[in-house]
């Protein structure tokens, strides 16, 4: 079950992510040309406020977006009782947010 | 047997969910919100009946040079002076309110002019362009909107319930209720009600070619006949000249190809490809429905037919693209079913369309039997011998509303009648009717469908577009034989649950009963008026002494027909309400 707020959150986060995904893919294609290495990645990102903001926003948006998306799939596949759905959505969203936040911290700090 | 009978009570019981039934529900509920209103229908609410199939539109005089008087005169002249004048007047007068009700309260939206005012189109037989419409799907708009309103109200719905019999009270003086079968569960239900509306919508489906929806088989009139109630104008069956002909084994056969095709310049050709309409009328294909129907029927009898036994309509000479554009819906419909209307030839036949005759009632929809009301195509009188295109749906919506108001009023007013309470039914009558409905289960063998085909052929050949005394007598004899054959025909399974073939059997029974009435009334009319044409009496008869036929069944089941003089209460033949039209134009009533 998706209501107005979840719908809006999902669509807005998608809109936010669209340029970020394009940017991310572009960087990947560029970066991967010389083979990926931790040093290479970290030299780009470490201490960069800009990349911190970029990936921070990405992680926040994807946490919201994917949580709601997976919620819909679970509901429609398993017919899960609505009561379980909210905690589930929160768990997925927070989980992604924390894991993602940790990753961003790792490469930026 | 009685343990199989469920019992139920309501205040107002409405049978049929066409324009008449649905309007009655809304009006009854509004007039007396405290009363329980129940609507019972043979199919699903809003999805059966003919109102939904209305294509052309809805006649109503909305000023700008038109007037209720003019609409009324067109109705009387179209009906060849046979209409019940007070009913025709009320029809024309109330349509003006009803159309605003449909738009402003029910939510219909009819086609507009670019300036936002209502578009009204021309329809055959009328002296003014007064037909309000929604494209060529007017009925869908009307019924869908009415259906939504009814679904949203606290109305009791009995869908897939077939009415089997009207049941009188113990004293026999009033109606007590109606016996149904719940088709889904196969259970008999007797519903008591203070007032009952018959809105089952006539529907002459006993002809080989017919237009009405598949659920219609004149059950309502057959039930009324069995109660000894009087039916008028029953010989008046309207044929539409161009029904689709796709062969005997397709349900598409008989469905209407719209009138506008001829109006736009379509040609009618016989089996050899010869245009024949000018042999019959100066106007050629553009002649009126009855003339074209008779011409085609005549050609068919002469054997000048197409492979399936009809004639062709041909539009190609007007340019296939232009036809496809102007008649988009029709062309698509034909294409879906495998016919090329825009460029090729399509086989057509005259097809039974509408029954002008019906149960006698007063302009307030009351019948002879206290507590029983009738509206829509089941009610006789308003159209006389012919119905104007566009007056059918006006009639059902106008009188459905009237019935709702009157039924509620008759219950709540503590007047001279006793309709404010439920009446005990004649239990013996219920038992008889249940036994009657169960008859086919007591027998073995036979094929209901083959009998139905026999009936449709018989009616087409002997009681059809062109009639003679001899033919009608043959028809009556054939009907008697069919009745006997039906009585011997059983059903292969005794499962009553949603047994369509059982219902086919009962449909056939109603149709045979009503066919007999049509044939008998036709035999009694020794002239040719409107839709009724006697080759042995081609004259229309003297207008001043016009009569209408009344058919009744006595207690032993014997049918008798009599004549009654038409009362010219508003206008007499030779007169008109339109003299000095400009001065006496009456503004449409508010």
């Amino acid at each position: 079950m998706i209501g107005l707020r979840l719908y809006l959150a999902q669509r807005i986060s998608a809109l936010v992510m669209a340029p970020l995904v394009i940017g991310h893919i572009a960087v990947m294609i560029y970066a991967v040309q010389n083979g990926l290495s931790a040093v290479e990645i970290l030299s780009r990102t470490q201490g960069s406020l800009w990349w911190g903001g970029f990936y921070g926003l990405f992680v926040a948006a994807v946490a919201v977006h994917a949580a709601i998306g997976v919620r819909a799939i679970i509901y429609e596949t398993f017919g899960t009782h609505v009561r379980w759905l909210d905690p589930l959505t929160w768990t997925i969203g927070l989980g992604l947010f924390l894991l993602g936040g940790r990753a961003v911290a790792a490469v930026v700090l | 047997m009685n343990q199989m009978l469920e019992r139920h009570d309501t205040d107002i019981l409405i049978i049929g969910a066409g324009g008449a039934g649905l309007f009655a529900v809304l009006h009854a509920q509004k007039a007396a919100p405290g009363l329980k209103v129940t609507i019972a229908v043979k199919g699903l609410l809003g999805k059966c009946g003919c109102t939904r199939m209305v294509q052309g539109g809805y006649n109503v005089a909305l000023g700008k040079g038109d007037s209720v008087e003019r609409h009324f005169m067109d109705t009387i002249i179209g009906g060849k002076w046979l209409p019940h004048q007070a009913m025709a007047w009320k029809l024309c007068e109330t349509a003006v309110v009803r159309i605003r009700e449909l738009e402003n309260e029910i939510g219909c939206f009819f086609d507009r002019m670019p300036d936002g005012s209502l578009h009204q189109k021309a329809f055959a037989g009328q002296t003014f362009d007064r037909t309000v419409h929604k494209g060529d799907l007017t009925g869908i708009e009307i019924i869908s909107r009415l259906m939504e309103q009814v679904l949203a109200r606290p109305v009791e719905r009995m869908e897939d319930h077939r009415a089997l019999a009207l049941i009188r009270s113990r004293s026999g003086d009033e109606i007590a209720g109606v016996l149904f079968v719940d088709m889904r569960r196969g259970v008999f239900r007797f519903v008591r009600a203070k007032t009952v509306l018959l809105g089952t919508g006539g529907g002459p489906t006993m002809y080989r070619y017919h237009t009405p929806s598949g659920d219609k088989s004149m059950d309502g009139l057959a039930m009324a006949l069995r109660q000894g109630l009087p039916l008028r104008d029953m010989e008046m069956v309207q044929f539409h000249p161009t029904g689709l002909l796709g062969g005997a084994n397709t349900r598409m056969t008989g469905t209407v190809l719209e009138e506008g095709l001829r109006g736009a310049g379509g040609h009618l050709l016989d089996g050899q490809g010869r245009r024949f309409m000018f042999d019959y009328a100066e106007a050629g294909e553009r002649a009126t429905r009855d003339i074209v129907s008779r011409a085609i029927y005549d050609e068919m009898r002469k054997g000048h037919t197409t492979p399936n036994g009809g004639v062709y309509i041909s539009m190609g000479h007007l340019g296939p693209d232009s036809v496809a554009q102007r008649f988009k819906g029709m062309v698509r419909r034909c294409a879906d079913c495998g016919f090329d209307l825009a460029g090729g030839r399509v086989e057509v036949v005259p097809t039974a369309h509408y029954l002008m005759g019906g149960l006698i009632c007063d302009p307030d929809t009351r019948t002879e039997l206290p507590g029983l009301y009738v509206a829509g195509e089941d009610a006789g009188g308003a159209h006389g011998s012919n119905r104007l295109g566009g007056n059918g749906v006006a009639n059902s919506t106008v009188y459905g509303g009237v019935a709702g108001d009157i039924m509620a009023g008759d219950i709540t007013s503590r007047g001279d009648h006793s309709l404010s309470r439920l009446r005990e039914p004649d239990e013996a009558a219920i038992a008889v009717e249940i036994a009657r409905a169960r008859q086919p289960f007591e027998r073995q063998g036979g094929n209901v469908h083959q009998l139905r085909l026999k009936l449709m052929d018989l009616m087409w050949d002997e009681v059809g577009v062109l009639r003679t005394g001899e033919g009608l007598n043959r028809g009556l004899q054939g009907l008697a034989d069919l009745r006997a054959e039906l009585a011997e025909t059983g059903l292969p399974s005794d499962d009553m649950v949603f047994n369509i073939t059982w219902h086919d059997w009962m449909n056939l029974e109603s149709l045979i009963d009503m066919s007999e009435v049509i044939a008998a009334a036709a035999l009694w009319r020794d002239n040719s008026r409107g839709a009724h044409y006697r080759e042995d009496f081609p004259d229309q008869g003297e207008l001043e002494t016009s009569y209408f036929t009344v058919a009744r069944q006595d207690a032993d089941g014997k049918l008798s027909v009599s004549r009654e003089p038409v009362e010219f209460t508003i206008v007499k033949p030779g007169e008109t309400l339109l003299a000095g039209e400009e001065e006496i134009l009456v503004a449409a009533p508010a």
Binding site: - | C48, M53, E101, G107, F109
Partner: protein, 252 residues
């Protein structure tokens, strides 16, 4: 299917292999029949032939025979269709023609589905006009070109056949979802300037089972026999509700 295959497989005068689902709410299965094939023959005619000549207790629905009443919809070879307007040659294949009751609705018996929930949802979506005027008022002057009216007109010719409802996977997966037909009707009403329940209807279509459950699968518009586009109508509702929420109109 290609025209060539069509002419190859469609042989009037010979016979047609057909499988029809028979059963009730407790279950059922397909039964095989052989039906004479003819020049003019719709899927409804096939079903009718079986009932009239082979299986008298076969249950199905139809009324108008011409695509106006929306009673005859069934699954034909797995696709929802109006059977009275589907010529056999359009659906014929090398396997038997397979006819089953409409998907996503409970079955009553054989090919007759129970449409109650379909109409309940129609009502729940507030799919009925709320008058702002009465029969005593003049009819509103509304030009057909006025944008809102044009939007309503584009979606109004629905025959409530439930073909879209049967085609929609979201309906299948999410029983609370109001479905394309009801929302399509709600959209025409939101586009009707004469209607007086705009705010209430907006609440109704954005609540629990409302328009936001639609994933724009577009099966509804693909299968609608009247070529309507419920997807676009539902998108319209999503925009209306979202906009109204963002501008502080209402929340839910």
């Amino acid at each position: 299917m290609s025209k060539q295959r069509e002419t190859e497989l469609y042989r009037p005068g010979e016979t047609l292999a057909v499988k029809v689902w028979r059963g009730n709410a407790n279950g059922g299965g397909f039964h095989a029949y052989t039906v004479p094939s003819q020049e003019s023959q719709t899927v409804l005619d096939v079903v009718t032939w079986i009932q009239q000549n082979a299986e008298p207790t076969l249950t199905y629905r139809f009324a108008c025979r011409v695509g106006m009443c929306g009673s005859c919809a069934m699954m034909v070879n797995g696709e929802p269709r109006w059977t009275c307007r589907t010529h056999v040659k359009k659906v014929i294949g090398d396997k038997p023609l397979e006819i089953a009751p409409l998907r996503n609705l409970p079955v009553i018996k054989d090919l007759a589905a129970d449409m109650a929930e379909f109409f309940d949802k129609w009502t729940a979506a507030r799919g009925q006009f709320q008058p702002s005027q009465s029969r005593d008022d003049a009819m509103a002057a509304i030009s057909p070109d006025e944008p809102r009216r044009a939007a309503a007109n584009a979606a109004i010719e629905c025959i409530n056949c439930a073909v879209c409802y049967a085609a929609c996977d979201t309906v299948a997966a999410n029983p609370g979802y109001l479905g394309p037909a009801a929302l399509n009707r709600a959209w025409t009403l939101q586009s009707d300037v004469r209607d007086d329940a705009f705010a209430e209807r907006l609440d109704a279509v954005s609540a629990g089972g409302g328009c936001f459950n639609c994933h724009s699968h577009q099966s509804c518009m693909t299968y609608c026999p009247n070529e309507l586009n419920p997807t676009a109508s539902i998108a319209g509702l999503k925009r209306l509700s979202a906009f109204s929420y963002l501008t502080g109109g209402k929340s839910r």
